[in-house]
Every structure is written in C-alpha cells, then in structure tokens.
C-alpha cells in the first residue's frame, strides 16, 4: 500500500485566504479564521478542500446526498414521451393557430408554414399512480410509481449549445460553473479516491450526435479543483490515468513515493503549505490509478445485474454508463452526469425517438430498481432531463426546438413519487399550469441536497454569483 505522508490532508492553501467567500462569510472574517487555524495548527492534518465543501452546516436537513443527472442531449420531445396531447392528434396537418406562435422565437422553422403534428407514439397509464407515459418507455412504465414527472419546464435558449449551457450552469454565458461543480464546491465529496463530479457520455444510433463542449462540466470561476472529470466506459477510463508503457505498478509507486519524499524534504526547508497539498494530490492520483480501473471493471457485476441494465459493459453505451453511475454513487461521488447525445429529431421523429428511447429506457429503469434494492434510492436524486423540448408543429416528419414547455422527471431522495406536476396547453406549446423554470429546477435540486440556493454564492467580478442567478424558487409540491 501507499505509505501515507505525515500530511494526509489538503492543508490550507493561500488561495483560500484570498477573501473569496462562500455562504456570505465576510472576506475578512474568513481570512482571520483561517489564518488563526493556520497559526495554531499549521502542520495539522485537515480535510482537503475538495472533500469538505463550504456549506457548514447545511442550510437544511438534506434529503439526498448525491445526484445522478441523465441528460438527453439534443432536445427530447415532450410530445412523444411524457406529455400526451389528444388535441394535437385531432389537429394533425392543420395550420398551427397563429395565436400560439406569433412573435415567438423559432429555430429551423423560421419562415416555414407551421402545421400541427400529432403525437407519434401512443401513451399508456402505468402503475398505481396511473402516470401517463409513452409506450416507447415500457421499462420506465414499470417504475412509474417512483417517478415525479414535470410537464411544465421552460428554458431561455433555443439553440443546443446555449441551451445546454443554460441547463447546466443557469446562464448561457461561458465561464460560469456547472451545477456539478457548484454541488461539489458546496458539499464536498465523500470519496477519498474519486473526484466529486464525474461525467459519462454515450452515443446512440438514432440521431445526429449533439456536440457537447467540455464547458458543460467546467468549474468556471470556482477553483479548478471542482471541475468535472470525464470518465469513459471504453478505452482509458480517465485521461492520463494509465501508467506509461513499461512501468509496472510497483515502479509507478516508487516514482510517486520518491516525488513525495523529495517534496517533503523541500517542505521542511521552505514551509510552503501548497507543497502539502501537492503531496496529498499525488496520493489521490495514485489511488485513482487503482480505484478508477476497479470502478469501470464491470466484470465484477453478476450476470443478472448486467442483464437488468442490458449491457455487458465496456461498450460505451448509456446502459453501461447507468451501471457505472450506480457504482460511482456507491463510492460517494457527489454529482454524476450522464449524456445521451441523440435526441435531436428534426426529421423522422417517429422511428428515431423509438430507437433512442430504446437505448435508455431499460437502463434508466434498471438504475432506479438497482438503487432501490441497495437502499440507495432514498438518498440519491435522479434527474432525467434535456435542454429543451420540441415543437407541436411539424418539421417534415420531425419536430423543431421548443423552449416554452417541455418535460423531465425526477426520482429518489426527497422527491414525491408517482406525481405528474405542471401542464402545457392543449397543443403542448405553452406552460399553463405550475411553470417550472430551469432556475426553479436548480433551486429545488439544491434544496433537496440541503442547500439554500440563495446562500451558495461565490464572489467573482465583484458580484456574488449563484447557480440560480437572481431567480429560482423551490418547487415545494415536488418534495416528499
């Protein structure tokens, strides 16, 4: 085993003295308290900043300890998934009433004739709660009583790139932290061997593969430690985690121990707390070289579990990523984000969305069941969301981007199960009941994690920034 150093923790770093404060502690006060900690216990072990989190104590008793956010990238049609519209079926082929569309932003249908396009898949009432779900999700139907469906989401950006950024960071501007970074920063990470924010991405066969920028998991102006780390279920699981060719595990350990020994000698000579941090980070890196390959090795999973998810692992599929998400959740990772990139169905939505749904349905349902049987569902918040919905109007035999009303579902820790919340109008265009803005979704997620969204702030450019900017309300009816 790796020999622990005398300074296992991330000792206080100068960066933390710079007066950037969270949860409203005055800059001076923070600096003073840390400085006194520093003088009195200069060489004492302390928890690493990436483990501890800045919200002490939590603002509320948390209902969930971790989040698994499944992003259906490309814009999942609400009309073929969770929001059935019989009136739209009736009006199939008729002109879309101008009262809905006049003066509204529109994407690829600019200057086109707008006609109603019927829902392309039948729905069915599932479970005791009778949740109305499209039949392309038979497995989710089985867990319908666990789902909290929201049919009244609204966002602000109509093109993929800014809309993704808005869903992840609460703004369309670059350079702001993503929600995973915010939560890691606020709550820290329970794992000693893994980062607090992990991203897994998969491709499908029924869409055009949305580009996703690494900005979507960037820590923005938060300290770089809180950046999401991309894991891959195929190939090298984390960039640079593999030892160089020709270097054995023991030799790599020799190298790292020599680095630590020399860094300790240097620290004894010059007393820079940053050195202790670096030593700790090399230890973490060393542990990751073991923990990450172990994590992604699905061979340890019994056959019935693999079958439940519908993967044999190592295939880069959404199913494999769902199983990895469970393993990450078990190991204490705070925020796990999965992407499926194939939901941009401008054409042929009927066949395409059935295909894409088939790629996620079984695994997403399996994740709920698996977490439940391990008693992890009660404190894991699942979100199955997308950057926007799709138009009730036809684009050929597909649908265009739509931001005025769309759907997602939540499940797990602290969420009211078996509920369908909010509604759009009879054609699925505008929200008419219980609007949930993206900021509201974020505020609610933070609330479930024990954080008041108005009090998790970070001072940048002279302003206290929040994930929810200057908006956002906790949607109380969603809470169990």
């Amino acid at each position: 085993m790796f020999r622990p150093t005398q300074l296992p923790g991330d000792a206080l770093t100068r960066r933390m003295f710079l007066g950037r404060s969270a949860c409203g502690i005055g800059a001076t006060a923070l600096a003073t308290s840390l400085a006194s900690t520093f003088t009195s216990a200069a060489r004492a072990a302390s928890e690493p900043s990436t483990r501890r989190g800045v919200v002490h104590p939590l603002h509320f008793a948390p209902k969930a300890k971790r989040v698994i956010f499944m992003t259906m990238a490309g814009g999942m049609s609400h009309l073929e998934t969770f929001d059935y519209k019989s009136k739209l079926a009736e009006m199939n082929g008729q002109p879309m009433p101008e009262s809905f569309t006049k003066g509204q932003p529109i994407a690829q249908l600019q200057n086109a004739k707008l006609t109603c396009f019927a829902p392309q898949h039948p729905f069915k009432k599932y479970g005791e709660s009778g949740q109305n779900i499209a039949q392309i999700f038979p497995h989710l139907g089985e867990v319908a009583d666990e789902l909290c469906i929201i049919n009244s989401l609204k966002t602000e950006a109509i093109n993929h790139d800014p809309a993704h950024t808005f869903m992840n960071a609460g703004t369309t501007l670059s350079g702001r932290p993503s929600m995973g970074s915010w939560l890691w920063y606020g709550l820290g990470c329970e794992s000693e061997n893994l980062p607090g924010f992990v991203v897994l991405t998969s491709n499908g066969k029924f869409g055009q593969g949305q580009p996703i920028a690494s900005r979507q998991w960037h820590s923005g102006f938060l300290p770089g430690e809180f950046q999401g780390v991309q894991f891959r279920s195929q190939g090298e699981p984390v960039y640079y985690v593999r030892r160089p060719s020709g270097v054995s595990a023991a030799q790599q350990q020799d190298v790292i121990e020599s680095i630590a020994a020399l860094n300790r000698q240097h620290d004894e000579a010059i007393h820079d707390p940053e050195i202790a941090t670096r030593i700790a980070q090399y230890e973490m890196a060393f542990r990751m070289q073991t923990s990450v390959p172990e994590l992604v090795d699905l061979a340890q999973e019994p056959a019935h579990v693999l079958d439940m998810y519908g993967t044999q692992g190592g295939d880069g599929s959404f199913a494999a990523n769902c199983l990895l998400a469970r393993r990450l959740a078990e190991r204490g990772v705070r925020f796990i984000q999965l992407y499926h990139r194939d939901w941009d169905h401008h054409g042929g939505v009927k066949a395409q969305i059935a295909g894409t749904a088939g790629e996620v349905d079984q695994a997403a349902a399996a994740l709920i069941k698996d977490l439940k049987q391990r008693d992890l569902l009660k404190d894991t918040l699942l979100v199955f969301g997308t950057e926007f919905g799709r138009t009730p109007m036809a684009q050929g035999n597909g649908r265009d981007h739509h931001i005025k009303g769309f759907s997602c579902w939540l499940a797990g820790g602290g969420v009211k199960p078996g509920l369908t919340y909010g509604a759009t109008d009879e054609l699925g265009y505008n929200v008419t009941e219980n609007l949930v803005h993206v900021h509201d979704l974020h505020a609610t997620m933070l609330q479930l994690m024990g954080i008041d969204h108005e009090r998790l702030t970070y001072r940048f450019q002279g302003r206290d920034f929040k994930l929810t900017d200057v908006a956002g309300h906790v949607v109380q009816p969603l809470l169990a």
Binding site: G175, I212, F460
Partner: protein, 1020 residues
C-alpha cells in the same frame, strides 16, 4: 530614458515624510465603507433605479445625507446604524429575505467611525484619473537604504506600517530562474545560471534584465496573458466549434510586445487598425481583435439573437480588457453597484455595429500577408521571374536538345494511333448567314453579320478506317471581341453538338450518338456535359469574356464508326442560348481513332503545341516557334534544377498565402442598435442608441459625426481615462509579483477589491502614460525593484500575519501557468523547439478526446517532428475541447475574457505530469542527457539534472532517495529489458542509440521524479 531615471532624485527630494504611525488609520470611504455598503445595501439602495427600495440610495452623498438615515458626526442617532443592528425582523438590514448576512462587528465599527468623522463620501478611486504622489521617505534607520526605486519606497512604507519588514534578498540562482520565467515563461539554461553566478560586476543583474527584456520569448510570455484576456482561439466556440484561421493575430501580439509597441498604439491597432488611413496589413491583422469572439454555425440559430449575443460579447470583452469593468452586468438592467446604465451597455456595443460579419455561419476570411510575408512574397516573385527569364535566354545547347526532342515527339505523334488528326472541312455553312471561312491552319473563322443565334454545319471527310471521337478547339482571333472566342463579348455558349455519319457510299445518313464529353475548362454552371444533353437551354461556355484563352473539348462516340471511301461526318454546332450572338468565332475540328479519346497527347503535349509541332518548322510563325521553345524548356531534363527551384518557390508562396488568410475587421454600414429591454432580443421597443462611452466617464466630442471604434480606442488611451493605465500596469504587476496591487483583476468597480497600495498603483499608471505607454520600461522598473528581488521564503510568523502577501514582505511562490509547465519540461529535457509564431500546432492528445465534436465529426491527429515540441501557447485552441493536459493546469478555453486564471492543485495535474506522453518522452530525453552529459556516477548526474531543472545542485537527501531509485529500477529493467524498451520508446523522438536501454529506462524514472517535483513546476 525613463522618467524615473530622469526625475527620480528630484521626486525623492520632494517626497513627504511618512507621518508618524497613526494610532488609528482614518476611515476612507472608498477603501473601508464602500465595500460594506456595496455588498450589503446597494442591491436595493444603489444605482439601479428600477429596483431601488424606499426611494433610498446610499451610493451617493446626496442620496445618503438628504434621506436623513445618516447624521454626520452622530452614529448613534443615525437610522442606518439602528437598522443594521436591529434584531427586529421588520426593521433589520439587510433584510433576512435578502439572504445577506448581517454586518460583522468589524464592519459595524468602521461604519460608526466613518459617521462619527462626518460620513464623507469620496469618488470611487478608479473613476478618478490617477495622480502621481511623491514616494514616501523612509526614516527608519535600519531600512533607510533599502529602497532602490520608488516602488520600494511605497512598498516598504506599508510594510513598516503593518509591523512587517522586507524579506532577505533572494539567492542569485533563484533570482535568475524567477526573472527568466517571469519575462519569457521559460527556465534559464544551466549555462545561463552559471554565467550569472560567476558575473560579479555590479550591473550583472541589470544586464540580465536587459537581455531578457530583449528576448524573442518576452512577446510569447506576455501574449499568454493578453490572449487570455482577448479570448484568442482557433475555433468558433459554439456548437460545431469549427476552425478559423486567426494565428496571424496571435503572432501580431507577440511581435508587438517584442517590438515594445507603445500600449496606446497597441490598443488603437486592435480596436481600429482597419480604420487607419492607409492601414497596413499588420494593422488589419491587429483589427482581428474584433473578430475573436465566439460565433455560431448552428442550423436554426436566429441571426437576430446572435447579433445581440455578439454585441454583448464585445461589450463584455472591451470593458473587461481595458477598463476592468463589469459593464456586461448592464445588459438587462442598470448596473447594481457601479454607475453603468443599460444605455451605456448598448451605446458601447454600438461602436462595433460597423463590424461586418455573418450572424450565423462560417466567417469569411481575408488574405492579409504581414509585412514580413509581403517582403518574402515579393522576393519569391522576383526570383521566379529571374529563373523564368533564364529559361528563355538564347542557348545553342538547349536548341540542339530541342531539335532532338521535336524529332522524337513528332515521331510519337504521327506514329501513335492515339493522334488527333486535324481535318479540313469540305463544307461549312451557317444557318443564319454568317460567313464561315476555312483558314490556312484549317480553322474556321466567322465574319459578316453576327446573328443572335446560329447553328454551324460542318462536313468533314472521314478518311480514317475507325473513328471514335471528335475534337473541337475554340480559338482566339484578333477580329473577335476582347481578343476572345466570339464576336459578342469574347465568350460563347455552345448549346448542342451533334454528329451524323454519311456512309462510304455517300448516300445514307445516320446519327452518331455521343457518349461523353470532356473539356480543358468549363465556366461555372456551363459544363461541357451541357453540350450533349439534348437541351437547347443549357450549354458549354468558357468565360471567354473574362479570361480569353483557347479551349478544347473532346466528344467520344458511343460506338466507333467506320470511315473511308466517300464517308463523311456532318457536325452541327448549335448556339441557341438566351445570350445573343454568343456564337463561336473561330474553331477547328479533329478526329481520332484512339480507343479512349481524350484531350491528352503523347508526353502530355498540349493540343496547341501538338498542332505547332505537326506544322513544318519553316512554316511556323515566330509566335508559334516561341511557344514551342517555351514549352520544351519547361519539360527538358536539362532545365530540371531551375524548374525544381521554381516549384519550391511556388509552394512556399502558396503556404504563405494560405497562412496569411485570417479574420480581419471590415467596416461597413452600421447595424441599428437599440436598448433591449431586459436584454430581450425579440423586443424592438427600446431606444436607438449611437456609439458612446459610459456617460459618467464623459462624452466623446465628435460633433455631428458618428463616433467610431477609433474614437473609442483613443478615449481608452487618453490621459484623462482613469482606468486603462491602472488596469494594464496591474496586469504587469501580477506577472512580476504574483498578484495584483488591486487583487481583483476582473473588477475595478465598487465591488472590486481596494488596492493594497493605491498610491503606488497610481504612480505606476502615471509613469506608464508619461513614458508613452512603454511596457518594457514598466517591466524593467519592476524587475529592478528591491521588492521584486526578495526571497519568497519567510517565517511562519510572517505567513500568519500576512497570509495572502498583501504587503509584499516576501516574493510570491506559485505554480507555473499551464503552458509554461509544458515548456519547462521540454526545455529541461532539451526537446523544446523555440521557433516563434506560425500556425497553431497539434501536440500529443489522448485518443478519442474529440469524439463529442460534431458537424463535422473530427479525429485529432497529432503533428510530427518539430511541431510536437513547440511552446504550449502555440497549441491548437479547440474551444470546446482544449488539449486536456493544458486544461488540467487551469488554462482557459478562452470563450470569455480571462483576467486571472485559478491556480489549482489537483490530482489530475499529478496524472498529467506522471503519465502524459509529452512528459514521459521529455523525461526519457532528459535521462539520456544526464547519462551522456551529466558525468559518470549517480551523484554527478543528479547534480547536473538538478542544475538543469531547478538551477541548483542536488542535496544529499535528494541524492540518497534518487540513487536508491535508480539502482532499484536498473536492476528491474535489466531483468526485464522488454519493459525498458517499451518505456524508452514513448514519443516520436528517437532514444540515443549508444545508451543501454535498461540504464536509460532507470534514469527515465529519475527524470520523471524530477519533472514532477513541486519545485520544478514552481516559480519562487
């Protein structure tokens, strides 16, 4: 000469003595009170009119005093104090629903003292133009001689006031390493360190400073700072994130810093280089600044929305880079803390409304060679002309060779069954009464009235046994328009070609189907295929009106036809297009029996030359003879060397021209700019605004004329602009001392941090402006300060007292910027390629890292050779997926302005330094050096290695650890040479041949340790 050097002694003489240590420093509104009010009160009682509560504003003296909540001199009678100390939820401020924490005891005490002292407001420090105050005179006996220039006087005075004193001087080996990193981003070589240590002359350090300030790498180092600010990248950023050529702008920045371009000029050229009268190409390249923002190509993006986004992006950038202002906060509403209004935001945006661009789509590029490139292009052209001239000089030797060549080629031409045979028509008629005359060269020339449309019918004797195709030459003639190919405008449109065979008996006629057609050239949308498509509204044309030249087409018969006897081919050329008189003016027909008729002839001889060659020498015109000679001399083996040089020069010319393609600013009619209510781009109800600077900072006097980007730039660098000089000298200060004098480099407004040394910052800002914005002068001033030359180590007591090092009683020590972490490892190993400038390069990158890019999908292929070892700043800047080893070290994607990078310390950094092929290869090359140049035993080699890596010999403790390591790994690799071979094979450079592989692998382990050390990646 610097102003300090000129006036320094005078200033010192005039300097005021520092007042005796005040028991309690007087409260300053700007420094002490404003930050409290701004963070706790201004959101509801500040500049934002729309959200102001209770009609109370505390950001102005009038507002605060007239409201009566402050009783100057009487804190206990002031409502303000009552409210902020109240426990009553209905009374207390800030209100609990604001989520703002109550005032701390310290803040409350300051507020009370301020009111007691009269509650005086002063203007925010950064909005008042800087004034030079005299540096303090230090009277403390012990430190009286410590200051070497005014910087030191300001710094020392504050240290003493805070019961601190300067640290010891840094060791000289530390000093040269620090200075070389700060000014070039590179480590000093071990010989540079040794030379400096050996140089005992009193000006050794100053000469070092001067040498580094003239290094070509100074510009690279400063560019890393600047390119972050202006968000320079190689791709568009949004969605598909496609490539655009902007490296000329990056190289311009490097050049400008290396040439010490005054910062005011530097500013003018970037914002408005295109508007200079007689703008040079360099200035146009500089104006590329306005094009660096993120742009989209996403299908379905609405032009109007993105036009609004781009406006906001430019406002955020220009205000952040030059003014340190968060004007971007005023996009939806008036600024909450600073006096910027939404109107200011859109008025600033209006300066850029003339920048021509595509709101959605690929941006158009322009070829703009730099002065250097222009000079090279001109030299190339001259050389090519000289070489071509040499090829045409009289030469008996070449003429003899030509005669031989002609003989051989003619033999091939005539003996080949592939030959085209020019056939003299037996009959030529025009459907519309043109006169068609057969010329001596067997071509047919049209004259007489030129009808709107015409069809020619040409009868050709078909003497060949087998005929497979027809060739048509369209030929220029001086009688034709534009010396071209028709009498209309030089161009023709041949709508249809048809052929019929009259058999050998001369009686029966049957159509000959044409299978395919080729031409040496076709005008866009007029392909040769249109001449055989059976439609009379399509045809073949050759742009003869624009580029008159002979052209040729060949038509292949579906089946060969038999000739001989009386057989004749009747060819019809129809001109039925909508373009009147576009009838071919002169043409010539030929037939062939070759199996696959084509336009090529033996040896690739052009048709025209084959015709000349087939004409007996005596009958050739002088022009024809010259053409043939020219051709020969361009294919002859005797002229190969000359031609090779021409080809290389042409290639170089193309490379330069390609590299010169970039985004520049082109000014056009300005777009209408409106204030967008709440930032909503769909809302057209807002007021139309003209370009204007923020109103509270003044007004541009342009009379009736619309203010331009040039006016904006001139205002930014005007002497009365309070911000630009402070913002820039603070950037330089951060480079030299690790953090800004004003900490928040991204905000100089009321929410920004108050400078630790406001008088020094102002002194430097004035010095900067009065030295004509001389960047090198400022850097030298800083480098020469005693403050700069302190050690970075200090006692735990001093660290505890001043943990953030506000008072600079030591130098900062911090991790190198990401690019320099890379450069450092490559430089230590000796792999670094130090070429300055050029297109961005692609070093190693993990496979699959670009898999989430789409439209189109892309696969990253790393470069080879030198480009693998270039400095980090030349790395290809793919905004959505920047090279992950840079990202790990906090290098920004440059989607927005980055004024200050975080300096994180993460496990991913450890993984990069341990496992990234770049660092493993560097370690192996470094190991090879230790073995070959470091001496024979381990301690010698380790000394050598530490000298190279960190500028000092190895300590006994280090030698002990690493000697043990190398022994252990030598044994392991000797036992397992296959693994050793794998390790040393990392990277594309070749390991040295004469070094034992196991030995090299073992020392590679040592080198990896050294490249991973905290000290190695730290500037101290």
């Amino acid at each position: 000469m610097s102003l300090w050097l000129r006036f320094g002694p005078l200033l010192l003489a005039l300097a005021t003595a520092l007042p005796a240590q005040a028991a309690e420093r007087p409260v300053s509104f700007s420094r002490d009170i404003k930050p409290i009010l701004a963070s706790k009160c201004y959101a509801c009682h500040g500049p934002d009119e729309q959200n102001r509560k209770a009609d109370l504003r505390l950001d102005t003296a009038d507002g605060a005093h007239e409201s009566g909540v402050i009783e100057p001199g009487k804190p206990d009678a002031s409502e303000l104090i009552a409210r902020v100390t109240s426990q009553d939820p209905d009374e207390q401020m800030p209100p609990s629903d604001s989520k703002k924490p109550p005032l701390t005891a310290e803040e409350l005490a300051l507020l009370k003292r301020w009111i007691a002292a009269g509650a005086k407001y002063d203007a925010h420090w950064s909005y008042v133009p800087p004034v030079r105050t005299a540096p303090p005179v230090i009277e403390t006996e012990k430190w009286r001689d410590w200051a070497r220039n005014p910087i030191d006087a300001f710094i020392l005075a504050q240290q003493l006031e805070h019961q601190l004193h300067p640290a010891a001087d840094a060791e000289r080996r530390t000093l040269i390493r620090r200075l070389t990193f700060d000014l070039t981003g590179l480590p000093p070589s071990e010989t540079e360190v040794a030379a400096f240590l050996a140089d005992e002359s009193p000006d050794a350090y100053e000469r070092l400073v001067d040498r580094l300030l003239r290094s070509p790498h100074l510009g690279e180092r400063l560019a890393v700072m600047w390119l972050d600010a202006v968000r320079f990248a190689d791709t568009g950023g949004y969605h598909s994130d496609n490539h655009r050529d902007v490296s000329p702008y990056r190289d311009w920045v490097i050049r400008a810093f290396n040439e010490n371009m005054p910062f005011d000029q530097f500013t003018l050229e970037q914002l408005a280089g295109d508007l200079f009268p007689l703008a040079t190409n360099d200035q146009k390249i500089a104006s590329g600044y306005n094009r660096l923002l993120m742009t989209t190509e996403e299908g379905g993006a609405q032009a109007k929305e993105y036009t609004a986004k781009y406006l906001g992006d430019r406002v955020r950038n220009v205000s952040s880079v030059w003014l340190g202002a968060t004007l971007g906060c005023a996009e939806c509403h008036d600024h909450k803390f600073d006096p910027y209004t939404a109107k200011d935001f859109y008025s600033m945006g209006a300066f850029f409304a003339d920048v021509q661009e595509k709101a959605v789509g690929r941006q158009d590029q322009t070829s703009v060679p730099t002065n250097e490139q222009l000079a090279r292009l001109s030299a190339i052209d001259q050389r090519i002309a000289a070489l071509n001239k040499a090829l045409d000089e009289p030469s008996a030797e070449l003429d003899a060779a030509q005669a031989k060549w002609e003989e051989a080629t003619l033999a091939k031409l005539t003996s080949s069954s592939n030959a085209w045979m020019v056939v003299k028509p037996s009959e030529v008629t025009s459907a519309n009464q043109q006169t068609l005359t057969v010329q001596d060269d067997q071509s047919v020339l049209a004259s007489g009235e030129n009808p709107a449309k015409d069809t020619y019918t040409i009868t050709l004797p078909a003497a060949l046994d087998k005929i497979t195709g027809l060739r048509l030459e369209a030929l220029r003639h001086e009688s034709l328009a534009n010396q071209g190919l028709s009498r209309a405008n030089g161009n023709f449109v041949l709508t249809e070609v048809s052929v019929a065979l009259v058999n050998s008996s001369g009686a029966q006629s049957q159509p000959v189907k044409l299978k395919s057609a080729v031409a040496d050239f076709s005008q866009d949308t007029y392909p040769i295929a249109h001449a055989i498509d059976g439609k009379n509204n399509t045809g073949w044309a050759v742009a003869g009106h624009q580029q008159p030249a002979d052209h040729v087409a060949a038509f292949t018969f579906e089946k060969p036809v038999s000739g001989g006897g009386e057989a004749r081919l009747v060819v019809k050329l129809a001109h039925d297009s909508q373009f009147p008189q576009h009838n071919i003016g002169r043409f010539r027909l030929a037939l062939t029996g070759q199996d696959q008729p084509s336009l090529t002839t033996p040896d690739g001889l052009p048709v025209e030359l084959a015709n000349i060659l087939q004409t007996p020498a005596a009958q050739r015109s002088a022009a024809a003879a010259h053409k043939l000679q020219q051709h020969f001399r361009r294919v002859a083996s005797e002229t190969a060397a000359t031609r090779e040089e021409v080809a290389q020069l042409e290639q170089e010319k193309k490379t330069i021209t390609d590299q010169a393609s970039t985004l520049i600013t082109m000014s056009g009619s300005p777009r209408t700019v409106r204030i967008l209510p709440r930032g909503n781009w769909l809302d057209d109800t807002g007021e139309i605004v003209a370009p204007a600077i923020p109103a509270f900072l003044g007004k541009l006097e342009t009379g009736e004329r619309r203010a331009s980007r040039l006016d904006l730039a001139q205002w930014l660098v005007a002497r009365e602009n309070p911000l630009t000089a402070r913002v820039f000298v603070n950037r330089l200060w951060k480079i030299m001392y690790g953090h800004g004098l004003a900490r928040s480099l991204e905000d100089y407004g009321t929410q920004g941090s108050y400078p630790s040394h406001p008088e020094l910052l102002d002194w430097l800002a004035v010095e900067f402006m009065e030295s004509d914005w001389n960047v090198r002068h400022l850097l030298k001033l800083m480098a020469m300060s005693h403050t700069y030359q302190q050690a970075s180590t200090t006692s735990l007591a001093v660290r505890a007292k001043d943990p953030a090092n506000d008072w600079l009683a030591r130098q900062d020590a911090y991790r190198l910027d990401g690019e320099f972490v890379r450069d450092n490892a490559l430089a230590i190993s000796g792999l670094l390629v130090r070429n300055v400038g050029g297109p961005s390069v692609k070093p190693y990158q993990p496979a699959g890292y670009w898999q989430f890019l789409n439209f189109p999908r892309r696969t990253y292929a790393n470069d080879h050779g030198e480009n693998l070892y270039r400095r980090g700043l030349y790395t290809y800047w793919q905004r959505s997926f920047l090279n992950p080893s840079l990202v790990a070290f906090d290098v920004p994607s440059r989607e927005e302005c980055t004024n200050e990078r975080p300096r994180s310390n993460t496990p991913l950094q450890a993984l990069v330094l341990l496992n990234d092929p770049t660092f493993v290869e560097a370690a192996r090359v470094f190991a090879g050096r230790m073995i070959q140049q470091g001496g024979t035993d381990a301690p010698q080699r380790l000394d050598y290695a530490f000298q190279r890596a960190v500028g000092r010999p190895a300590t006994p403790g280090e030698i002990q650890v690493l000697t043990a390591l190398v022994a252990k790994h030598r044994a392991a690799y000797t036992a397992d040479p296959a693994s050793a071979q794998q390790l040393v094979a990392e990277g594309e450079s070749q390991p040295p041949e004469n070094v034992d592989v196991s030995e090299l692998a073992a020392w590679t382990s040592v080198a990896r340790v050294i490249l991973n050390l905290h000290e190695t990646v730290t500037r101290n």
